[in-house]
């Protein structure tokens, strides 16, 4: 380090950065762990869906349905079951989801379902799966009322950003320690090495994912502009910014024009590309609007290039390209969403998302080990609370996730509100494992017991998938069902790793005060 940078980062600045870094990590570490872990799962949400919804494992489709009018409209009518449909949309099949997903809003409530690409309705999937449970948990914590969840997640993300930057400032020997992980010797030093290693080497990804995550929800968390220009009407803001179009129902009945010519026209306007989602607003009304979104598989930007058609005449109502600011916002959002078809990038996103979990986890563990020196072997309430949160948000979260996946394979198909039973089990087991962590924390949280539970549950998930669907790895390879095989392989690896960790932890001697008294070489 040169003299100039040494002057730039004075010991005083370093000390000033240390306490917000520590406090942010200790107080928000558990929440950030949830956000990072669920975000990592969300990268493979479609694949987890295939695993959790065996009825949708219908083999890959090359293209979408040949005719929307023949394949989609009958399925919509069947789902409506005689009720008047107000709005509906269909997500067309793609490489990762070989089925259509339909959502309807009728006069008496919502309905949804999956159908094969030729329009055959599948039995209800009975689960929220990765797309509707793990993924929303990542960005909204399922607290949608008043966008509270978005605010909390965004607050935690800003804290994460502050933590990343303050962490770089605190780190005294960033280049000398660039590749250093001393897995031997003092436990605390190994932890700090690992914390620094993941923090520094994966810093570009962590900065990118945190900033873009905040950017996505900017219109919600910085509402002043929308408030001033649109009177707080986010819908009108999005109409202008994203080129959306909406109009109220007229109340006059009118039939829907054929959809296929609209798709052809949208393709022409896009200059190639595939339709991904077709929305019909005000269905059966003279003011009906059809919206067609473009598939995102070949681009980073989240610009879906929506084309709006008059539902009765089939004429284009609006096709507006975004301005430079919105286009930038779409690219940044796209970097975060990773909606593109790029498998190496998808795996790197998973890997680095999990490295974010490791960064946060090792940070909390390091704090716990360092605090031991002050607290001795009989830690106080504060230390035990952080230890319980650390345990509940790492191994406890894994237990809850795996338990939900196991419940998904065990619960009978017919029980009422099956998807909500799964979700209830997830939260109950999560709370249970956090309570277990809190109760059993003496000199250490019950890492080894919880890791054993993780190993058993992950192995059970693989076995249950085999037993209940008959899909074992060899058959998955034979039928090229890479989604299910991938989830199974990751589950099996989790089981093996967790088992080895739990055995090793069980043999670890209790920490002694004599070794604790040696203070580490942290700045």
């Amino acid at each position: 380090m040169t003299a100039k940078t040494r002057k730039l980062i004075s010991p005083a600045l370093r000390a000033a950065m240390l306490w917000p870094h520590t406090w942010a990590g200790v107080t928000l570490g558990g929440l950030l762990m949830l956000i990072f872990f669920m975000g990592s799962l969300a990268v493979f949400a479609s694949e987890i869906d295939r695993w959790m919804m065996p009825a949708t494992r219908v083999g890959a489709v090359e293209t979408g349905p040949a005719s929307l009018d023949h394949a989609v409209l009958p399925a919509v009518e069947k789902l409506a079951a005689g009720r008047t449909v107000r709005d509906w949309y269909v997500q067309l099949p793609d490489e990762r989801r070989p089925v259509m997903a339909l959502q309807l809003r009728t006069e008496t409530g919502n309905a949804g379902g999956m159908a094969t690409s030729d329009g055959q309705l599948l039995p209800p999937v009975g689960t929220l799966g990765g797309t509707y449970f793990f993924y929303p948990l990542h960005y909204s914590l399922h607290l949608r009322a008043g966008f509270i969840g978005y605010w909390i997640v965004c607050f935690a993300s800003v804290a994460m950003l502050a933590g990343l930057i303050s962490g770089v400032i605190i780190h005294a020997r960033i280049f000398k320690d660039f590749f250093t992980f001393r897995s031997w010797g003092q436990f605390r030093r190994s932890l700090l090495d690992l914390h620094n290693l993941t923090g520094v080497l994966v810093l570009p990804f962590h900065l990118m994912i945190t900033i873009t995550g905040i950017v996505i929800v900017l219109p919600i968390v910085l509402p002043a502009g929308v408030q001033a220009l649109y009177g707080g009407d986010v819908r009108r803001f999005y109409d202008d910014a994203l080129g959306n179009y909406s109009r109220p129902r007229s109340g006059i009945a009118a039939p829907l024009a054929p959809l296929d010519p609209m798709v052809a026209e949208a393709r022409r306007l896009w200059g190639g590309g595939e339709p991904a989602v077709v929305f019909v607003y005000n269905a059966g009304d003279a003011a009906s609007v059809v919206r067609i979104n473009r598939a995102l598989r070949d681009r980073i930007s989240l610009d879906v290039q929506p084309v709006f058609f008059d539902g009765v005449t089939g004429q284009v109502l609006k096709y507006q390209r975004p301005g430079p600011v919105v286009a930038t916002h779409r690219v940044l959002s796209g970097l975060h969403f990773a909606a593109f078809d790029h498998w190496p990038l998808r795996w790197l996103y998973l890997l680095f998302g999990l490295s974010g979990c490791m960064l946060i986890g090792t940070g909390m563990l390091y704090w716990m080990e360092k605090r031991r020196v002050a607290h001795g072997v009989k830690p106080g309430v504060g230390w035990r609370s952080v230890a319980a949160i650390a345990c509940g948000s790492t191994s406890g979260l894994l237990i809850a996730t795996l338990a939900m996946m196991a419940a998904n394979r065990l619960l009978p198909a017919g029980i009422p509100s099956r998807e909500l039973v799964e979700v209830g089990l997830f939260f109950l087991i999560w709370i249970g494992s956090a309570v277990h962590a809190a109760v059993r924390t003496r000199t250490d949280p019950p890492w080894s017991e919880q890791c054993t539970a993780v190993a058993l549950l992950a192995a059970a998930c693989v076995a249950l998938n085999w037993i209940t669907t008959g899909e074992h790895p060899i058959r998955a390879v034979a039928s090229a069902d890479w989604a299910v095989l991938g989830v199974d392989v990751v589950l099996a690896l989790t089981a093996v790793a967790a088992w080895r960790v739990s055995r090793r932890l069980a043999q670890r001697p209790d920490p002694e005060l004599s070794t604790l008294a040696k203070v580490t070489d942290h700045a």
Partner: protein, 99 residues
């Protein structure tokens, strides 16, 4: 460059680049090459030059294969992956050298 070689090539180049950079760090040089003295200045320069060339080659492979947007993103993430792999190798070699 054939498709199948793109990914191994990209990650390999990133790995070699960071391996060269790791050897130019005195601690790792002493642990892995010569415990008595640090790396000579000329060697450090050559290692860094090699690292720079490898990184540039990796960028060109990624951008040529995947286009500017995806190529840049893939390259930036492959850098982290390569650096993590080098750190794991350094730990493994140093640990076995220590017995």
């Amino acid at each position: 460059m054939p498709d199948a070689l793109m990914l191994p090539g990209l990650f390999g180049l990133c790995y070699f680049a960071f391996a060269a950079l790791a050897l130019s760090v005195e601690r790792h040089w002493r642990d892995l090459v010569d415990p008595r003295r640090g790396p000579p200045r000329r060697t450090v320069f050559r290692l860094r030059l090699a690292a720079l060339l490898c990184l540039a080659a990796a960028l060109s492979v990624a951008v040529r294969h995947d286009g500017t947007g995806f190529g840049l993103l893939l390259w930036a993430l492959a850098l982290s992956a390569g650096a993590l792999a080098v750190a794991a190798t350094v730990t493994w070699r140093t640990r076995s050298a220590r017995g």
